[in-house]
């Protein structure tokens, strides 16, 4: 992925190069700030449109545009599917035809009817179901809660360590999974005790908790190898929500974000982030990088949350988190098993749907005899959704007080 291919490829696969702050457990990932940002960039400024720095508006609108483009492609994917089926697949035969068809179904979030895909899906669910136990055990041996980056107070460490081991045993033996789910979710709420940023960082844990909570009480007698549509939807939504929240948190806590980049400067060369900050004032190079980086995460998270090209973005996440753990940061990032497991389970599910079924339904109705209305509907829907997903929160963040972070 290090090859800088065409811009389009860069836009699509850029997050693979977004290692650091994607899940920067800042206690372990070095984040010492080497040069302060111009804080005013992120705050309300008198005399500027909406009180926002024009560079901020530019980056925000570009992200909105890219997000809208993905929505347009998604809403019109049936047309693309027809083109693939009747123009590309028709002359093909045998394995090649099946492979192209399966790839097309995979990218467009349609059911992939393939034995190996089913097998991969079953394995992914088992992995997602049980691997959190390993991280819990590892955290327990490192005097930490849930993730090695959340150290326990020495006075209560032993109790929480034993609880984590007990929970891990229940998970590994698939015993009373709904109880396990409640313990995981309750523990996640407890992380708010240590501040909202800790809870935001820990959202991927909740995805596992949801799966447990939605499992049968007799889980120890069952082989749980598939996610149903409801489980898939909730896990996908929460998984995406985690990235959206992390992205906004990166703008709010911009010093930490750029501090990671200061220590791992190569991450600033990411093609997608470079695309988003294209044409901005070089005097705000680091500020626009933080903004672009964070909004890239918001964008990818929002698409997963809303079920737009879930498999594409989920696959990108899997590669990104694997690379973070194996290449960039190493052992300290082992909690990435949580999001990798969740992403694998969602990506290999055949129950993927978007949250915009109404738009898709109307688009389908207009497909045969009202092309102008159809394209207008898609364009307006995509633009409105993308704009609302990015710009209002970006605007409100300029009013926030960051003095508590100092």
């Amino acid at each position: 992925m290090k090859a800088r291919l065409r811009l389009g490829l860069g836009v699509g696969l850029g997050p693979l190069m977004l290692p650091a702050a994607a899940a920067a457990h800042e206690r372990f990932v070095k984040h010492e700030l080497k040069q302060h940002l111009q804080d005013g960039f992120f705050q309300q400024q008198a005399g500027k449109p909406f009180g926002m720095d024009p560079n901020m508006i530019q980056v925000g609108l570009l992200v909105t545009l890219v997000l809208a483009a993905f929505f347009v492609f998604f809403f019109l994917r049936e047309g693309l599917d027809e083109f693939i089926r009747y123009k590309i697949l028709a002359p093909l035969r045998g394995a090649v035809q099946r492979t192209v068809h399966n790839v097309a179904c995979f990218v467009m979030d349609k059911p992939v009817r393939s034995k190996w895909f089913y097998a991969a899906g079953e394995w992914s669910v088992i992995m997602f179901l049980r691997s959190p136990a390993l991280v819990l055990m590892y955290s327990a041996t490192n005097d930490s809660l849930v993730m090695p980056s959340y150290p326990l107070e020495p006075s209560s460490a032993v109790i929480f360590k034993f609880i984590q081991v007990l929970l891990a045993i229940l998970i590994l033996t698939q015993t009373l999974l709904p109880l396990c789910g409640a313990l995981v979710i309750g523990t996640w709420f407890y992380t708010f005790r240590w501040g909202p940023f800790v809870a935001i960082d820990a959202i991927p844990i909740v995805t596992a908790g949801i799966l447990y909570a939605m499992s049968p009480w007799q889980s120890h007698k069952l082989a749980i190898t598939r996610l149903n549509a409801q489980q898939t939807r909730v896990i996908r939504f929460v998984f995406g929500l985690g990235f959206v929240a992390l992205g906004w948190a990166k703008i709010y806590n911009h010093d930490l974000t750029v501090g990671v980049a200061d220590n791992y400067p190569w991450i600033m060369n990411d093609p997608m982030v470079g695309f988003f900050k294209m044409g901005t004032d070089p005097a705000f190079q680091r500020e626009t990088w933080v903004l672009s980086f964070a909004l890239a995460e918001v964008m990818s998270g929002f698409m997963i949350m809303m079920g737009i090209f879930t498999r594409l973005w989920g696959t990108i996440m899997i590669v990104m988190f694997t690379k973070l753990t194996l290449v960039d940061f190493g052992w300290d990032e082992i909690p990435h098993i949580y999001p990798i497991g969740a992403a694998l389970a969602v990506v290999t599910s055949n129950h993927l749907h978007s949250e915009f079924g109404l738009v898709e339904k109307i688009e389908r109705a207009l497909r045969s005899d009202a092309p102008a209305k159809r394209f207008t509907l898609v364009a307006v829907s995509a633009t409105v959704i993308a704009f609302l997903a990015v710009m209002p929160v970006l605007y409100f963040l300029t009013f926030t007080n960051r003095s508590l972070l100092r």
């Binding site: 010492e32 409640a182 313990l183 309750g186 523990t187």
Partner: protein, 222 residues
């Protein structure tokens, strides 16, 4: 044989989650009362400092050690007493603890303390310090890779690699300041009777090959 699959209801999951949250908070409240204390604790007027020597109770040693420590302005008039406990009480063992009550907390410098003892031919095996709930140790160093970062210069190691077994379990994190000459060791919140052994930090700094020329106790808020 399963006759009927039983799923947890939303109410059950919510109730169990809330109950578990309550348990976690209860554990927290019971075992970490310092985290729940709203009132700002009054600063201590004096703090305990205990030095363990293998030859404390040899003839004349106590006086010489006290004399060495008396060269430090912040220990000149500090009350000192010898304490014997544990294995030190066995026959033929002359080891013991020298308990000191230090009033000038801001003047404490562990490097100067160690140096003063070495100048007189003594080395404390342990330097236990406590009495403060929340504090940090701030060292000034001549050679330190600064936060502004130079190429070809090794930054501070991770806390995880510095801790070995029980060593430095009291250390929360390490940072350097913007000047690049100050290293700060953040100490985990301490229980009233807990002590940290500063010699563990000395050993870790020896491993790293770095020795600050001062190591002060900072109890003021950051």
């Amino acid at each position: 044989m399963i006759s009927k699959i039983r799923l947890a209801t939303t109410t059950q999951v919510v109730a169990m989650s809330i109950a578990w949250l309550g348990v976690c908070l209860g554990i927290d409240y019971t075992f970490n009362p310092q985290l729940w204390a709203r009132a700002v604790e009054a600063p201590s007027s004096s703090v305990p400092l205990s030095l363990h020597f293998h030859h404390l109770r040899c003839t004349g040693c106590t006086d010489e050690i006290k004399k060495a420590l008396g060269t430090l302005p912040w220990l000149k008039d500090a009350p000192m007493s010898v304490r014997v406990s544990g294995q030190d009480t066995t026959a033929g063992n002359y080891a013991g603890w020298l308990d000191i009550s230090v009033q000038e907390i801001s003047q404490i410098d562990f490097i100067a303390l160690d140096q003063a003892l070495r100048n007189e031919g003594f080395v404390a095996a342990q330097i236990e310090f406590g009495g403060l709930r929340h504090f940090r140790l701030e060292g000034k160093a001549r050679h330190l890779c600064s936060a502004t970062g130079q190429e070809g210069c090794e930054p501070l190691p991770d806390v995880g690699t510095v801790r070995r077994g029980e060593r430095l379990r009291w250390l929360d994190s390490m940072t350097t300041d913007a000047t690049g000459s100050t290293v700060i060791f953040h100490v985990r919140y301490q229980q009233p009777n807990e002590r940290i052994d500063v010699k563990e930090l000395f050993a870790a700094m020896d491993d790293y090959g770095m020795l600050p020329y001062t190591l002060h106790v900072i109890a003021a808020a950051e």
